[in-house]
């Protein structure tokens, strides 16, 4: 394919719209194109799907586990072997070129209809060319929409790159026909909630490791584990990452190349669906019918999609000096062995690094900034009075300056002069959540069928929340840009202190509390703090001395903005904390928890005590719960049928009080009194 017209983002990376060429060419012609990936002859030999499963089946690792499981469960080895067959059958990919062509045809059509542009950085594509060394390549995109599930495969097909093998969740395999088509496009399926199923773990890890060891095709997986419902980066899941990296730790491959890929959208196709899901409307199962129904979305315009293939990371270089690979020398490598602590730390570090690279590589739409600005105003006034267009535009431009200074990648075509035009067009692209009327911008409430009015005040709150959460999902895409400075702004506000040491301690506490909400690399809080200081210092918002940090006069506006940015999270967490402290029962299930927090939040919103509608989001609620688990204020009890939680009220109260500055900071994680 020739290189289409270039579109510059931040002047450094060159993006090109791949649709331009596709629109000029004949769809069927594209599907039938000669696919000829350039594979160096020193590279690894190809491996068919059958060879792959055969290698897994006969591996020493699996034979060992099979025997172990047979002994543990008291069944015969043959019976366990049959289980292995079932698992493998359910798991295996079955890559076939004909399906890739079919997919190419379908995706080609869909993308042309949905998007005005699909921008891909061409030098990133270049970097995916197989190298002579033949190291295994791991493609690690973020997952924001169903649309991006096969986009890498599509690009690979279009640009003659090796087609990746993709890790997907089993629900996808249950879709009639599509499940099988995806399988033939290189998807292999992983069950959710594997828990302690030893045999399944063994089959899966052997399957993954064999793909990595053989390095015959890139492996693609979502390090975040699943599709982010909030469009915010999710803390990485480490299980798969461990499997992928183990062949390097064990010396079975010389190096592994990780390629972070950031996929971002002006609008994700399922945006309103996601908001409903977060508010407790159950998510429709992934069925083929569901997909067909969703085909109504084909008539909407979703703006641009960006695929930014990041700089490859060498696992070897990243682990240099951090791990002792001798760890695996005393046990045969095929037998399962727990990785050393140094390796676990490295896996976590790498996973977080990839997420950070994905965040930084993501291309922000101007609307993200506009949504961020809009959400700084109280929701009722946004709905009723709206925000003057001039104020919105002026604030957005102000924010644009900060975002760029903080290193964001913005898709903001043209200079500032055309800005009004850019913002207007973004406004109209998002007509389903916000509308410009008479020089003011209003947040649109969800409308009932046929103009039905909400039957109760509670329902009204929920309807309004849909719009807020949709808006929030756009803000969330920009959150990572401001996260560190915002944490510092909150720390300065809550502690009302200038002492660097005190601020840093509170900063670290905030990182702990919001560790599930916003992704930070564990153990790097001091770097994060320094980064926050340096960014705000450069922006002229604060002055940093050896001991003290103070806000400059010019910085007041910035600091207020940053503090307000995190306010919804601060408030939502406080709602969760107060619910836990006031609830009658000390133990509860997650379902009970979500329902009662939602109820509490609704009543607080109605009474005007709570400003933010984000407290209604099940995501925020469960994040708060996970965070308390990490802080050991809540413990998980596993009973036979279900998981329950037990709360330590005084501990939660302490965290709540510290977070709002009522009591000074104390050590959280290991509070001895709270355990008594």
């Amino acid at each position: 394919m020739s290189t289409p017209q270039r579109d510059s983002v931040n002047d450094e990376e060159e993006f090109a719209d791949i649709l331009e060429d596709l629109r000029r060419s004949w769809d069927l012609g594209h599907a039938l194109r000669t696919f000829k990936p350039s594979v160096p002859d020193t590279g690894p030999p190809p491996c068919s799907a059958a060879e792959l499963t055969a290698a897994v089946r006969t591996s020493q690792h699996l034979r060992y586990i099979t025997k172990e499981v047979a002994v543990e469960t008291g069944s015969t080895v043959e019976a366990v072997e049959q289980q292995v067959e079932v698992i493998l059958g359910e798991m295996s990919q079955n890559l076939q070129m004909s399906s890739i062509r079919l997919l190419g045809y379908g995706l080609n059509k869909a993308m042309k209809r949905l998007f005005t542009r699909v921008n891909v950085n061409m030098d990133g594509l270049q970097r995916l060319q197989p190298t002579a060394q033949g190291y295994p390549v791991i493609l690690m995109p973020n997952h924001r929409s169903y649309m991006d599930f096969l986009i890498i495969s599509f690009l690979s097909f279009t640009y003659d790159l090796p087609i990746p093998v993709i890790a997907a969740g089993t629900p996808l395999s249950k879709m009639k026909l599509m499940g099988e088509i995806f399988r033939r496009c290189g998807a292999f399926y992983i069950r959710r909630g594997i828990g302690s199923d030893k045999l399944y773990w063994a089959v899966l890890s052997e399957y993954v490791k064999t793909i990595v060891r053989r390095a015959y095709a890139p492996l693609e997986f979502y390090v975040e584990g699943l599709r982010s419902r909030t469009l915010k980066a999710l803390p990485p899941k480490l299980g798969m990452m461990h499997m992928v990296l183990e062949p390097f730790f064990k010396g079975e491959v010389y190096d592994i190349t990780l390629v972070p890929i950031s996929i971002s959208y002006d609008r994700v196709v399922e945006e309103s669906l996601l908001a409903h899901e977060l508010l407790g409307v159950p998510k429709p199962r992934e069925t083929t019918r569901g997909l067909l129904k969703a085909s109504s979305v084909l008539w909407e315009n979703y703006g641009s999609m960006h695929v930014n293939i990041g700089q490859a990371l060498s696992v070897r270089a990243m682990c240099q000096g951090k791990i002792d690979r001798n760890h695996y020398n005393r046990v045969p490598r095929d037998l399962p062995q727990k990785p050393g602590e140094d390796m676990q730390a490295c896996v976590s570090l790498l996973a977080h690094r990839v997420v950070r690279d994905q965040e930084q590589g993501a291309v922000l739409s101007p609307w993200s900034l506009m949504a961020t600005v809009l959400l700084q105003s109280p929701v009722p006034s946004l709905v009723q009075e709206g925000l003057p267009w001039g104020a919105l535009a002026q604030r957005t431009l102000w924010l644009r300056g900060h975002a760029l200074a903080f290193g964001a990648r913005l898709n903001w075509p043209g200079g500032t002069r055309e800005s009004d035009e850019v913002m207007s067009s973004n406004m109209s692209l998002h007509h389903s959540v916000a509308r410009r009327r008479g020089g003011r911008v209003f947040l649109l409430e969800e409308e009932g069928f046929a103009g039905r009015q909400p039957t109760s005040a509670e329902e009204g709150v929920a309807w309004r929340a849909v719009a807020v959460l949709m808006m929030a999902s756009h803000r969330n895409q920009a959150l990572h840009v401001f996260a560190r400075p915002a944490m510092l702004a909150v720390a300065m506000h809550v502690t009302a202190s200038r002492q660097r040491r005190e601020l840093q301690a509170f900063f670290v506490f905030l990182l702990d509390v919001f560790s599930v909400e916003i992704v930070f690399t564990p153990g790097q809080s001091s770097q994060d703090f320094e980064e926050a200081c340096s960014l705000l210092g450069k922006a002229g918002a604060i002055q940093c001395c050896q001991e003290e940090i103070s806000v400059t006069d010019a910085g007041q506006q910035t600091m207020t903005f940053l503090k307000t940015l995190l306010q919804p999270f601060m408030d939502s967490y406080q709602v969760v904390f107060s619910h836990l402290c006031e609830a009658g029962d000390n133990t509860f299930s997650e379902k009970q928890f979500v329902t009662s927090v939602r109820k509490l939040a609704t009543s607080l919103i109605l009474s005007g005590e709570l400003q933010t509608y984000e407290a209604l989001s099940s995501d925020t609620q469960s994040n708060a719960l996970s965070s308390l688990l990490r802080l050991e204020a809540v413990t998980k009890l596993r009973t036979a049928e279900r998981t329950e939680y037990s709360v330590n009220k005084s501990s939660v109260q302490r965290i709540a009080d510290m977070l709002c500055g009522k009591i000074p900071l104390q050590s959280v994680q290991t509070a001895p009194d709270s355990r008594l």
């Binding site: 010396g251 010389y254 020398n329 490598r333």
Partner: protein
């Protein structure tokens, strides 16, 4: 290809003659036929210090080594590679099969592999720089003591310089530039066990540092004088203790003085129809005592065993006295085997003076062979299977593609059109007809030994296994050339250094399942490190599997690069070697299979043998040698 038609059909006497000739090539390439009267192998007393005139000429190693050997390179002064006026590589001298021959394709290989140019020369200096050798710091009382015993000694600069180094790259590189570091202050040449006892007693009495010196072929910095040593350093050269004291034909053992070098041992035993079968690549120069002190391994260990298997009895003179067992038995259960304190002690506990070693009748028949595999993976799989079936020939080695090509570059000029036609045909058959990729194929070289019948049977068994792994028999010639390569490789290093190419070999042992990974990873690491360190041209980084065991294999790496344009090539080399060793350890390989630890690798001893293990070794040292008389600083 089916092995080698011509030799299969040859008559038996012919074959035996060929076999004998081959044995001579391996065991005693150098010397002119010996005076038969020297083949005196009856037991005899420790002879007087002054030997009969002419006695030393029958042995390979004179006291003044520099008279026959290079002082700043490998091997004999008369044998060296060079590019002649026509730019063709040539090997001088008359000692080796390759001597006097021209290797027409070496230049092209050399220039192509290293990006080198034979016109660019970096010749070695002929003598040490003036003033490079510091005057000896002699311990007068000790000198007088030695004088009174009548043991010959010298503090001549040339003698001292010769014994101050082994053959590590950095040692040879410095010598070629005329640089000499700390060297021993004095050299003594004891003639027998009792002489050694006297010298060790004197050393203890006068507190001088003794460094035992055997063949001088160390590649672990074991012979370097520790810089922190303030005492007078005395090199104890065992080369004159080179007699076979007795041969016991009933038990098939021989009692031998430890200074004897490999080629003399095999030659002298051969005259009685025996051999030890211990053939390390350095056997021309390395000594029996050195083998014991470093846990040496011979190429034919599959039949004869490594040095620890060959050892029946050993005497070692330590500062605390003489250590030896009370009997000559094949095995005993009397606590930890004290031989294992001696084996691998690397001169830190005492001097090995006499060894009783197993001997075998010289094999009736010997045959080389080779197998081509489509790729290295298949070759390793085949070797693993051979080891599993425990049918390894005397030697079986698998060289990778790079080394295979290197071997080809060393082919001497073919004399007849017919041979060259045959070569072309072979190549065509393998690459075109069988579809082997010349950039991937690799070769296993084989050496069979024993009864003719059994050898042929054995050969068939091995070739049958090889066939299962896609192997094609590729003739005796390829096999023999492979083994020759190991004898001349050290000479080739000197040629490389004449043209800015520096290199070295190192080895490890590793479990079977890691062989492929370690080979790939270490080679890759070398390539990457060289690039990172500013080496312009991709280095020559190659390996071979040289020994097979039940549970693993020994892997040997060669690594060389063009150092032109580097300000400190040796430093770069050392960094890369260090990285490669770390890669080996991270991939489950050992610190060393047979080269030993010396000072070069002792930083890794703790992690290799554990803190407690190191403590055990230390406590032995503290008991045996509390004053650190044997202060070469190796190992611990």
């Amino acid at each position: 290809m089916a092995s080698d038609g011509s030799s299969n059909s040859s008559s038996i006497p012919d074959r035996q003659q060929i076999a004998r000739q081959r044995l001579r090539i391996i065991a005693g390439h150098l010397q002119k036929p010996l005076d038969p009267s020297d083949g005196d192998i009856s037991a005899r007393e420790c002879s007087a210090p002054d030997k009969q005139p002419g006695d030393t000429t029958t042995k390979s190693v004179p006291r003044r080594r520099q008279e026959v050997m290079k002082w700043n390179g490998w091997g004999y002064s008369d044998s060296r590679f060079h590019f002649n006026k026509k730019g063709q590589a040539e090997f001088t001298g008359k000692r080796y099969k390759l001597s006097g021959m021209i290797m027409p394709s070496l230049k092209e290989w050399f220039e192509g592999t290293f990006g080198a140019n034979v016109q660019h020369k970096s010749f070695a200096s002929a003598v040490p720089s003036p003033g490079a050798v510091k005057p000896p710091a002699l311990n007068q009382a000790f000198v007088e003591g030695v004088q009174s015993t009548g043991v010959p000694f010298s503090s001549d600069a040339e003698d001292r310089v010769f014994r101050g180094h082994g053959h590590c790259l950095h040692e040879i590189f410095a010598l070629r530039e005329g640089r000499v570091g700390r060297v021993p202050d004095m050299v003594v040449w004891p003639n027998c066990h009792d002489d050694v006892v006297k010298i060790v007693e004197l050393a203890c009495k006068h507190n001088v540092c003794l460094i035992p010196y055997g063949g001088g072929t160390s590649v672990s910095s074991a012979l370097e004088c520790p810089l922190e040593e303030t005492r007078s350093i005395v090199s104890l050269d065992t080369s004159q203790m080179n007699r076979i004291l007795w041969i016991d034909e009933k038990n098939l053992t021989a009692h031998v003085e430890a200074g004897i070098v490999g080629q003399d041992l095999e030659r002298l035993l051969g005259e009685s129809g025996y051999c030890t079968g211990h053939e390390p690549d350095s056997m021309e120069f390395s000594s029996l005592g050195g083998w014991v002190a470093t846990r040496a391994s011979g190429m034919k260990k599959n039949i004869y065993g490594n040095i620890e298997d060959l050892l029946v009895h050993v005497r070692m003179v330590t500062p605390k006295g003489v250590m030896e067992k009370s009997c000559l038995v094949p095995r005993m259960s009397c606590g930890p085997d004290i031989h294992h304190f001696i084996l691998g002690s690397e001169g830190t506990l005492g001097v090995v003076t006499e060894v009783t070693i197993k001997i075998r009748p010289v094999p009736e028949y010997q045959k080389y062979g080779s197998v081509v595999f489509p790729n290295f993976d298949m070759g390793v799989a085949c070797l693993r299977e051979v080891a599993k079936q425990r049918c390894a020939p005397a030697s079986i080695r698998l060289v990778d593609n790079e080394q295979f090509q290197f071997g080809h570059a060393l082919k001497p000029q073919v004399s007849s059109m017919f041979t060259s036609f045959l070569e072309g045909l072979k190549k065509f058959y393998i690459t075109k007809f069988k579809g082997f990729d010349p950039q991937h194929l690799c070769v296993a070289t084989l050496l069979f030994e024993g009864d003719r019948e059994k050898v042929l049977q054995h050969e068939k068994q091995v070739y049958d296994i090889a066939a299962k792994f896609g192997g094609l028999a590729a003739g005796e010639d390829n096999g023999q050339r492979g083994y020759m390569l190991t004898f001349v490789i050290a000479y080739l290093r000197d040629l490389g250094m004449d043209h800015f190419v520096i290199g070295e070999s190192f080895e490890t042992s590793v479990p079977w399942d890691r062989v492929l990974d370690i080979c790939r990873n270490v080679k890759e690491r070398i390539t990457r490190e060289c690039k990172d360190k500013g080496v312009q041209f991709t280095p020559f980084s190659t390996c071979r599997v040289t020994q097979t065991y039940d549970a693993g294999a020994c892997v040997y790496f060669y690594f060389a690069f063009n150092s032109r344009g580097l300000s400190d090539p040796v430093h770069v080399y050392e960094q890369v070697e260090h990285a490669a060793r770390q890669e080996i350890l991270a991939n489950g390989g050992s610190l060393s299979h047979h080269h030993g630890v010396g000072k070069l690798r002792k930083a890794w001893m703790r992690e290799t043998v554990s803190e407690v293990g190191l403590g055990m070794l230390r406590s032995v040292k503290e008991y045996v040698d509390p004053e650190n008389i044997f202060g070469n600083g190796n190992l611990l």
